[in-house]
Amino acid sequence: MIEFDVTTTADGIGVVVPRGRLNMVAARQLRETLTGLVEGGSTRIVVDLAETTFLDSSALGALVAGLKTARQSGGDLRIARPTESVMTVFRLTNLDTVLRPRDDVESAFDA
């Protein structure tokens, strides 16, 4: 029910695009994907949520874990383009301040 596109930009930024539902099953894959990127040297990561149709608390946990892992390695994790329903989950859990959504993937790491 979910696919992850994982690419790395010319600037070395890892871009993860989950397509479909991020529920408990998919959250495990997301967590592994994010850890793999950091271990592979991509410590700056953008998770593009434009095609994520649903996101639950386990996916939030995976994003927070990815954020911590990236920061411990001197990088960061940012989210881009969440849909309105996905944004509701960030707001209800007060995570919209730590994972502030960016308008697009390209400028997610601009100042």
């Binding site: 408990m24 608390s57 386990s58 946990g61 874990a65 859990t93």
Partner: protein, 144 residues
């Protein structure tokens, strides 16, 4: 007189992570037949239902319990006033106080599920009856 339902749906599934997609698929196709439900109500109802199903999957059975004996039933009901889900499973009793559930700190990597469910719907109750766990979620539909 209790309000007569517009639609009902019953889902039976084994208690395993893969059942989340099954429940979500069935919920989506059921709601697709009833286009009067607002996007906001659909979103918050689905959000809470998924968190409770995930909670049952994670906590209702010992890790070594035989998967064939783990059963979850979800009954969905739609009326003009509300969306309701009644879940029952034959797992272990849940030791929890829904009134005391709080959202964990921003850096927590787990523990948000029940708090999210409480925040998303208008009523969430848990009861242990006759050796089964019973959850009830109610989302009062937005006017119009």
């Amino acid at each position: 007189m209790p309000e007569s339902p517009v639609a009902v749906e019953r889902i039976e599934a084994p208690v395993e992570p893969e059942s989340l997609d099954l429940v979500q698929d069935r919920l989506e196709s059921w709601l697709a037949d009833h286009d009067g439900v607002s996007v906001t109500d659909r979103t918050r109802f689905e959000m809470a239902l998924v968190e409770i199903v995930a909670n049952v999957v994670e906590h209702a059975f010992a890790l070594d319990a035989d998967v064939r004996g783990r059963l979850l039933t979800v009954e969905l009901r739609l009326t003009r006033e509300l969306l309701e889900a009644r879940l029952s499973d034959n797992g272990l009793p849940a030791a929890l106080d829904l009134g005391a559930v709080t959202m964990p700190d921003e850096d927590a990597t787990s523990g948000r599920g029940l708090a999210l469910a409480v925040a998303a719907v208008d009523e969430l109750t848990y009861d242990r009856v006759d050796g089964c766990n019973h959850w009830r979620l109610v989302c009062r539909r937005a006017a119009g």
